[in-house]
Structures are given as C-alpha cells and as structure tokens.
C-alpha cells in the first residue's frame, strides 16, 4: 500500500511536470544531446576530454574539456541518461557532465587515482573506485556531492551493483577477494574469497609478493543470479551466489585471466588469459570450461556481436573472432601495424563495435557480421575507451 501511494505521488508529480513543462522549457540551443542513447562517448586520456560521436552519422556532436592533466580513465552515462561521469586519474577528481547540454557542471574531489566507476540502477549513487587510495568514493547524484569514502579495499577496480541496487560488488585487483558493499549504509560489509591461495605459494613467494594480479571485476550474469570473478594470480573463476554471498564453484581457466565477460545470450562467459595467450569459454549452465582457444597477447577486452566474440589484443593490432555457436575461432581482423588497441563498446543492436585505438587517435567501427571496419580519426588524443548507453559491453581496461 505504501508502494502504491508512493507510485501515485510520483506519477502525479511527473504528470504535473509534463503539464508544466509546456510552459517552462530550455531553449533549443542549450540542448546538444536530445537522445543520450544516440552517441558513443569516447574518453580521451591525453586531451583530457570526452568526445560524443553520433552513432548514425559518425560525426562529433560535442566535446567536453575537463581540465589540464586530468587523464580521464573511464566514462559512463547514468542509467537515467541525465549525466555523464568520469574519474580523472591524475586530478583525483570526479567530473559530472550534463548529458543534455554537454556542459561540465560539477567537479568533485575523490581519493587517489580514480579509474573505474559504476551507477546504482536507480541512478542515485555514483561509486568511483580509487585504486591508489584503496577506497570507493560515494557520490550522491541528487546533491552532486561526495557523501562518503569507503575505505578498506585493495586496489579496487570495477564495481557492479546488484539488480535491486541493495549491494555493490567490488573487484580488488590487489587482493583475492570481492568486497560487498551495503549500499544503504555505504559500508564494506563482507569480503568473499574467490579461491584459496595454493599452499605451494610458500615455495615461490616472489611470484606472489612481487606483483599481485587479483580480481578485476565480479561480473553479473544477465539474469543477475550469479556473479563471476576471475582471479589473475590464481588462474580461476569463482562463481558467487549473491543471495548468500558465497562461492559455490571455482572453475580453473588459463593463466592470468584478465577478467570475465558475459555473452549477450547469457550462455557463456569468456576470460582472456594473458598468461598463456588463450581464452577460456565457460558454459554458464554447467559452470565448466567449454573451450580453451588460442588468442593473442595483451588482451584488454571482449565484445559480443552478431553471434561472435571479439577479443581485443592490445599490442598485436589484431581483434580475434570466435563463433559463439560452434565455439571455434572465426578468424582475426588486422586493425593495423604498430597500433595500440584499447577497449571497445558494442551498440545496443549487437551489430557494431566501437574500438578505441590510441596510436592514431581513432575509433575503429567494426561490423560484427562482416568483420569489415572503418576508422573515425581525430576523436581526441589517446582515446582510451568508449561507452554507449545501455550497451551490454561497457567496460574499461
């Protein structure tokens, strides 16, 4: 009854606003982006700006400069389409852009070296991970202020919210556990160990003490029932049941999996294993590795389109393709020689990939069906990542 009452009030307010909006409107000149899903956002690390490219025309419709020496890392649009945000790694600040006017409207101090970020499903909370500060900054998108810094992480990278928004899961690349945040209180309430560090590690502590490659992300399945977290040093993927926040299975994959990516049909997940230059395709129904296939060096991302998986090999200049029906290699696309491929997003129709290529300051648009591609040059200096609202492949390094 309470929910019904709230619904009535909200619906009434919106209807009233619709009526009032007829008399109060922004001028047309102020609105630069009418449809937030119509653009590809490109984060340019060295020109310190966010570019907005129209998906249909491939023309730039806007560019927002963030400041000098900001080095934005990842860009994301809020689920309600109101804001575009990014963390400035060198500036230790979060930048809030109005998605409609493409104006920088707020700069908020966060912790050290902000990189990856996420929004709660209701767009209320913007969680900014600060890997060098070992913390998560909580930004209230109503007041546009940082309301809390949650400490206690170890190089936190990606944050994923549960579908009901009550919990957030944080991959700690500097450890072997996934942090669970109670979103109501914005507190770290649990650490879920993905897998045990093998006892034999005592014999080779240099490997473990030199540099740690832990968990990049706890990625949810499409139905939100499970989370999959790959651990680089341990070479495993832990399957977490978020209802009880416990690990229900540990799946061994190749060496040094970078992270895990979910296929759009919900059947498979892929880990690019940079330690042995393979990919492991995990059958999500059976929770088993269905195929291990050769890939390239320095893989930074996996996208899905037209029934295929596209694996980005950063330093080789190749994008490797795999048929997700037969689970066999389907060729590779040579993007260029001496180029550095970064990360990509896929459009909401699962047809095209938008791949950032930092050497020539371009975005490479790959047709998922044919493998043909075109380049859009001069998108900004050192394009580092791309993002499309509601894409299923929005990720960063």
């Amino acid at each position: 009854m309470l929910k019904a009452g709230r619904f009535v009030v909200i619906t009434g307010a919106i209807l009233g606003l619709v009526a009032a909006a007829a008399s109060y409107t922004l001028s047309a000149a102020d609105i630069k982006l009418a449809d937030p899903a119509s653009v590809v956002m490109i984060v340019n690390r060295d020109s310190n700006d966010i570019s907005f490219m129209d998906i249909k025309t491939h023309k730039m419709v806007g560019k927002v400069f963030l400041g000098n020496n900001v080095n934005p890392h990842m860009v994301m649009m809020s689920p309600d389409g109101r804001y575009v945000v990014t963390g400035g790694t060198r500036a230790n600040k979060a930048f809030i852009i109005d998605a409609k006017t493409l104006q920088l409207v707020k700069v908020i101090n966060v912790d050290i070296a902000p990189e990856h970020l996420s929004f709660s499903p209701d767009s209320r909370w913007y969680y900014q991970g600060n890997p060098e500060g070992d913390s998560i900054s909580v930004i209230d998108m109503v007041s546009l202020t940082k309301i809390k810094t949650i400490p206690g992480f170890a190089e936190p990278l990606n944050v994923t919210f549960s579908s009901d928004g009550s919990k957030a899961y944080v991959g700690n690349y500097g450890a072997h556990w996934v942090g669970v945040i109670d979103v109501r209180r914005h507190e770290l309430m649990k650490k879920i160990q993905v897998a045990e560090v093998p006892g034999v590690s005592k014999l080779d502590p240099a490997k473990y003490l030199g540099e740690i490659k832990g968990i990049n992300i706890a990625a949810p399945t499409n139905d939100g029932r499970f989370l999959y977290a790959a651990d680089g040093d341990l070479g495993v993927v832990g399957v977490i049941d978020p209802r009880e926040d416990k690990v229900i299975k540990v799946i061994r994959v190749g060496k040094n999996p970078w992270r895990i990516y979910m296929s759009h049909d919900g059947k498979y997940a892929i880990t690019p294993n940079n330690g042995d230059e393979t990919i492991s395709i995990i059958d999500l129904q059976a929770n088993k590795v269905a195929a291990t296939l050769e890939a390239g060096p320095d893989m930074t991302g996996v996208n899905f389109a037209a029934g295929k998986a596209f694996v980005i090999s950063s330093t080789s200049g190749f994008v490797y393709m795999y048929d997700m029906n037969t689970l066999r290699p389907a060729g590779r696309i040579k993007i260029g020689t001496n180029v550095q491929l970064e990360t990509a997003t896929t459009d909401t129709k699962d047809e095209k990939l938008y791949l950032a290529e930092s050497t020539t300051n371009s975005v490479v648009i790959i047709d998922g069906k044919t493998g043909q591609f075109e380049k859009v040059a001069n998108v900004g200096l050192f394009p580092w990542g791309t993002h499309i609202m509601d894409s299923k492949d929005n990720y960063c390094h």
Partner: protein, 545 residues
C-alpha cells in the same frame, strides 16, 4: 477478470495522480554566488528525482524538466508546480551546479549559493557580479586567507612527503565455509594465508630502492661465481736423500665456476665445475697427506670436471635441510671455523680435513641437517664412495655428526662436533670416529683441534691437529688473517708424519687475496721407506668474485 481488475486499478491510480497533479503551488528563491552577490540569468530547473525516472521506463530524460532564468536580482519563481519530490538544479556560467531535493509544496523561499566550478589547471572566471564582490575588501581578503588555510590543512592531512610505496604482503585470514573472508577468527572459520596489496608511506632513499631492486633481480637470476687460484710452492729437502725432490718449484692453477639458482623458497641449486692444471709437490713428495689441498681436485690436467651439483631445500622453518645430488659429503661434516678452507686458510690438507674421514672422491648422495635452533645440530649423510661401483649398496659411505655451539662464560663462540663414519666399500671394517672443535678465546684468537681414529685391519690409524687463527688484530690490514697449525698422523703401520704450517693471508681487496705460507713436514721411516723432511714456502693468489 484479472484484466478488468488491473484496468480499474489503473484508472483509479491515474485519476488519483491527476488529482494530485491538480494540487499545485509555487516554488521561489534567490541565487547568489559564494561571495554573496546575486547571480542573474542563472538557469533554475525542476527535474524528477532519479527514483521517479526509474519508475517510468521509456521516459526520455529531460522530457519533464522545467526551467526558468533568475532575474536581475537573482530571484526565480515557478508557478503551478504539482506536489511531490523534485530536484532543484541551478546552473550559471563558471559555477558548479547546485542540486538539491525539495518537497513541493514548500512555503519558504529557497536560498541557492553557487560555488565556483574549479576546472583543474584553469583559473576560475568570475562573473561580473562576482568580480565586483571580489574587490579587495578586508572581508574578501580574510575569506580568501581562510580558504587557502583550509586548502593547506587538507593538503597536509592527505599527503606525505615521501612517495607511497605499493607492495604485496603475506597475510593471515580466516575463511568460513561460504568463502567469506575475515581479518580475525570467527566461529567455523579456518586460518589461511593469502596475499594482498598495500600502500605504505615509508621513507626510502633512492639508494635503498636501487639496492632492493638489484637484490630482487639477483634473486631471480642464476648466480655465477668464480674462484681462481694459483699456488706456487718451493720444496727444500732437509732430511733424507738430498737428490730427491729438492729445491724444486711447483705450481698449480685452479679455476672453479659456481652456479647458483634460487628455484623456490628456501630451495637452491648449486653446481661447481672445476678445472686444474699444473704440478703440485704431492706428485714428488710421498707424504701421507696432501701438501697442497687443491691436489685433491686434480683429476685430469686441463679438463673441466663437475665436482658438485646438488639441490638444497629447507623445511620446518628452516630447521631441517636436505641436500641431494653429486656432492662432497665432507663439506657438511667435520667443519672447523679456523681450519677448513684451503683457499683462504691453511694449504696443507691435514689442516683442512681430517684424514680419518677417509673419503677422497665426490659422488651421488644426500645429507640432512637438523638444526632445532637451540645450539645443537645433527647431521646425517650418505654418499657413494666408489664411482666405479656397480651399485650403491656396495659402496655406501655414511656419516653422522652431532654438534653444539657453545658460548662458555667469558669466551666467544665455540663449535664442538663429534662424528662417526661407516664405509662398506672396504673389505675390512672401516668405521671411524672423530672430533672437531674451534673456540674463540678472544675476539682476535681462535683455537682449533681435530682428533680422529679410523679402524684398519688389526688396528687403528690415528690423527691429531691443533692450531690458532688470528684475525681482527695483530695484522697489517684490518681484514687480514693468519694462523699456525700442527698436524700429526699415526697410521697403524708405524709410519708417522708431522706437519707444521703457518700462513698469512692479505686481503688486498674484496675479491683479491694474497697468502704466504710455509709448511714443514717430517716423515718417519716405515719399512724400507726413507725418512724425509721438507720446508715448503709458498705463495697463493686468489681471486674470487
């Protein structure tokens, strides 16, 4: 029926919503900047809260936003606003967006204070009104000083002078059956070890960092060491037939290549490849023990020989060590701090080893060392004594030793060892027992002694040695050392041999040593062997790196 109910409910909800929308009121307020000056032409918007947008899927963002501009006096007003929750946003050039949730109806006029938008690396561009307000009044300057002090405080509290260091540490955690990890023990959890990155604000000089990096690099690589030695000796016969081996010069050059690699924690691989050439005095002077300890390594002239190749690993907190491979078992037994190394101490083998140990060749075997870290230590080893034997069981040479590190009152550290060996390769019983001790009497002076008795057919061979080593004083250079020793071997056959040696070892550099030594050996007759005696002065030049 179900559809009918839903339809009725929807109509009721819609009508109620429309009724709620019909109850409208106004929202008004004033916009100022940080300095208190009014901000004209600010864009003031009312937008639905995020939760409302989430409940209206498909609603295009901004479709329901309404906006007005603030007037010249900074005031604004919205009329006919329905009751409910809204976000009030205020934007002005050069200012950060002000955003707050409000509930309509509201009776109070809203006071909006805008903060400057601080873009990194760019100076804030004040508005005309702001610039007027920022005229250098005393209040403005005081406010500016307060702001700067606040920034300084924040800066000092969030930064350190040294660069933070990222390192990975080994930690103990407790994990329950669900995989939940805790920093402390909880019911049903078990202790585990894991690794976690931490950032430490530790002051470390650049030199320390470089040294640490080099040390880490060294640990990862195969280490190669070289020990090159040239020993030149002269023999002057003092007793016996002067025509035999008299006034001769001898020289022996030795080069050892050591390879070490750290394979795992507390596990190393070691190999020693040696090549020798030259003529030691032992080829002409028939002493019972070697006058030049290097001679034992000389297998063939100018040939490389693998002396040792073994793997050593340690268990139980480094209390138990196991060495296996091709090894020289006597390296692990019958140690002596003052008389154990022909490369830096005495040259004569009788003052390096105990002849009653009775092993002259290296072979396959293993050695275990148990050191409970309480002063005692225990060793046991087995080695193939005869490389030509067809099987190991016919040529087992085994040694056991118990040692104790003593610190007698008023004295320095002393090592006391007793060993027992058994060798089945000889036709007769070949048991032996021996003692080796070294005791530091003063910081400069260490005394040593060895005693041994080996079973032979119908009797025992006996051996004694003793001497002193001086270091840390009474030397030309601070790191020099010198020693005097005496050894005597009394075989059951009746022949006796007495040997004196003195040496002085100049440590020229970290890697270069020069030693002068003088040996005096006296050999009594046995059967038809003549009695003989020699003086053997010598020079040893050693480079080790």
């Amino acid at each position: 029926m179900q559809r009918f109910r839903v339809g009725v409910a929807s109509v009721v909800v819609l009508l109620t919503a429309v009724a709620a929308a019909a109850q409208t009121s106004s929202v008004s307020g004033k916009v100022t900047n940080k300095e208190g000056a009014v901000v004209a032409n600010a864009t003031v918007s009312l937008v639905p809260p995020p939760s409302a947008m989430a409940s209206m899927p498909g609603m295009r963002p901004g479709a329901t936003d309404i906006s007005v501009q603030s007037g010249a006096d900074g005031t604004f007003q919205f009329d006919k606003i329905p009751a409910g929750q809204f976000i009030l946003q205020v934007d002005a050039p050069g200012q950060s967006r002000s955003s707050q949730q409000i509930t309509v109806p509201t009776t109070q006029a809203l006071a909006i204070s805008l903060e400057p938008l601080e873009v990194p690396g760019a100076e804030a561009s004040p508005t005309a009104a702001g610039a007027a307000a920022a005229a250098p009044t005393v209040d403005a300057l005081l406010e500016r000083i307060r702001t700067l002090e606040q920034r300084l405080t924040e800066f000092e509290s969030t930064t350190v002078l040294s660069e933070p260091e990222t390192r990975v540490k080994r930690i103990e955690i407790w994990v329950d059956k669900d995989g939940n990890q805790y920093d402390h023990q909880v019911a049903g959890s078990k202790r585990e070890v894991t690794y976690e990155r931490e950032r430490a604000y530790r002051r470390q000089t650049i030199n320390e960092k470089i040294e640490q990096a080099l040390s880490d690099e060294k640990d990862r690589n195969v280490g190669i060491g070289v020990d090159a030695t040239t020993v030149t000796q002269f023999a002057g016969r003092t007793t016996g037939d002067q025509a035999l081996a008299n006034k001769n010069a001898y020289a022996l050059a030795s080069a050892d290549l050591f390879f070490t690699a750290k394979l795992a924690q507390h596990t190393i691989f070691f190999a020693d490849v040696v090549a020798l050439s030259g003529s030691p005095p032992d080829r002409q002077i028939p002493t019972l023990t070697l006058l030049n300890g290097y001679t034992a390594r000389l297998v063939n002239q100018n040939e490389l020989n693998l002396r040792e190749a073994w793997l050593r690993t340690e268990f139980f907190g480094q209390r138990l060590a196991l060495v296996a491979g091709r090894l020289d078992l006597t390296n692990y037994f019958d140690h002596n701090a003052a008389a154990n190394d022909e490369t830096t101490q005495f040259l004569a083998d009788a003052l390096v080893n105990n002849p009653t140990l009775g092993l002259s060749s290296n072979g396959t075997g293993f050695a275990t060392v148990f050191d409970p870290k309480n002063g005692f230590n225990f060793k046991f080893g087995i080695q193939q004594s005869n490389p030509d034997a067809d099987n190991l069981s016919d040529s087992i040479y085994s040694l056991a030793e118990a040692g104790y590190v003593a610190r007698p009152p008023g004295l320095g550290e002393g090592n006391y060892r007793v060993w027992y060996r058994w060798d089945n390769s000889a036709e007769s019983r070949a048991n032996a027992v021996g003692i080796s001790l070294d005791q530091r009497l003063f910081p400069r002076l260490t005394v040593f002694a060895r005693v041994g008795s080996a079973e032979v057919l119908d009797g025992h061979d006996r051996f004694y040695s003793a001497g002193v080593q001086i270091q840390n004083g009474l030397v030309f250079n601070p790191l020099d050392s010198w020693g005097i020793g005496y050894a005597q071997i009394n075989p059951f056959s009746g022949r006796n041999e007495k040997l004196f040696e003195g040496y002085y070892n100049f440590r020229l550099t970290e890697r270069l040593r020069l030693s002068f030594n003088l040996e005096r050996v006296l050999d009594s007759a046995e059967g038809d062997q003549p009695k003989f005696g020699y003086f053997l002065p010598g020079v040893r030049l050693q480079a080790s790196f």
